[in-house]
Symmetry: C2
Amino acid sequence: MGKAKGDEVLWVRDMDHGIRKLGPDEVLERLKALKAPYHEGYLAMYSSWYGGIVTDPALMVVPLDDHLVHRGDGIFEAFKCIHGNLYGLERHLDRLERSAAGLHLSLPFERAAITRIVKATVRAAGVRDAMVRLFASRGPGGFSTNPYECPAPQLYVVCCRFLSTPAARYERGVTLKSSHVPIKIAYLASMKSCNYLPNVLMKKEAEDAGVDFTVSIDEDGFLGEGSTENVGIITRTGELLVPRFDRVLRGTTVTRVMELAAGLVEKGELARVGEADISRGQAYEAPEIIMFGTSFDILPVVRFDDRPIGGGKPGPWATRLLELLRTDMAGCEAMLTPIED
Amino acid sequence: MGKAKGDEVLWVRDMDHGIRKLGPDEVLERLKALKAPYHEGYLAMYSSWYGGIVTDPALMVVPLDDHLVHRGDGIFEAFKCIHGNLYGLERHLDRLERSAAGLHLSLPFERAAITRIVKATVRAAGVRDAMVRLFASRGPGGFSTNPYECPAPQLYVVCCRFLSTPAARYERGVTLKSSHVPIKIAYLASMKSCNYLPNVLMKKEAEDAGVDFTVSIDEDGFLGEGSTENVGIITRTGELLVPRFDRVLRGTTVTRVMELAAGLVEKGELARVGEADISRGQAYEAPEIIMFGTSFDILPVVRFDDRPIGGGKPGPWATRLLELLRTDMAGCEAMLTPIED
């Protein structure tokens, strides 16, 4: 059935018998037999197209004619389940609704139903900690660009094993590089759509350069965003500044951190928290550069464009903000949605 | 299993039992039971993931974790099979290779194998006339933006019933409108990738405005391209001009027409064939505006931004060029690849 590595069939491309017709049962048999090492992390998937939840990774499939597949005509959100609580679910659903409006996409279900589906999918996964990804698509209906050929939008929710970020990355810090991938046009940057090729190319760029992250640079030389991360700096005068959200996606992590850090401004620990035009030069000189993202929360940057940041060691604010965020994750009821009803 | 319309289950969203776990056989049973009216046009699909061809539309599915699905990280081509011959296949495969290079995507098979797969898929469809769509994807492997998490790219080929364009559209002409969707950044415009949201929004814009097509306008006010069409004009001095291919996709139809029309320049029938900056004003004044596309070939524009073009009637050049192209399709052996080996 394909190229085998040990006992595991990694992919299917046996040209000898690969072009003949397959019957439905044969397809199911082949899918069931197909095991990839990364499947181990896929715990459960809800599909509105199936009308239910599957736990077999091989059956986590979507129709080819869903415009999500061939046009990127869909939106997504990714959020964590921590000890049985979905963190920031409401905010992710707020953004989902904003992205949907940007695309003129009707969500397939009401918000309460989406919440029920997400909870049920995580419960079906049988874990308390997970990464949940939700996709709302234009739906199947044909292969043109015309969204009106799709009778009904679809919802797919996949619950994956949560992979925690190695401790060394927090302790030793991460590296960052300016991206050469052109920054997105504003209207595409503000939606979390499945048109993510610029983000793909930025991630590839980071991997190829041997750094952890790259950051987009706008036409005026100001910092933008990472492939799927926000960036911020701590200035010498004690400000927490992030690039303006008119050209970058409003990240849920950075937004929450800015809210929490506002309390530190009141206490006089920070001078200011806000959006700003941040030049590369300003970032090079900053005592701290910090990355914000759903999977790792907060990471300190110790090198940017091969220049040491903060003496090449993680600074105190990355740690302080991470503690603040982790405390929020552990105990802020308004931010937590239990997976049990 | 879902919302039923007559005997046909159109989509699945029965919330009463829609969130429970489904076993593999139950999924197959549900998929097999699912019939949508548009499925009638889906004749055959090759999947490298299956390692074969399916003819049941319900089984034309792809893995959710293929980065094609959640990032638009893939490329495509669409071409016709006319009376058992694939028209312009080699040129479409040339462009596929160029798109792949732009994305740093390895094609899953060599060109000869892709050709064999395409031919076999059309043969399995059991028709002589068809629209074939080919997708090359980054492949399954996870849900991040990182292309390196995908062990192997995949190929999906779908063969659909060919829907011919109604004769009235050629005879009466079509309508065109300037788009408000921002023109694509050059590097994304030059690849036929599955990041096609701007194209989706342009098609939606046309539908909403009650016109047949919209055309993008660049920052300097020059004409770009349609949602999935190229545009060109005939000038008063007898030139066939098309927007420069640095900001628009190099369409296979318009490219072939330009080659064929070069013969008319030699004969003195046309003054020139070439790329140019074409302002809206220039297009408004043009005796003819012409659309070029794989599905309809050539269509005359009779209204652009609510102004009549060529007196509001199709001009002679649209007809002349269409005849030239149809002759090429019928008999130019270099452009035809028979589906039989």
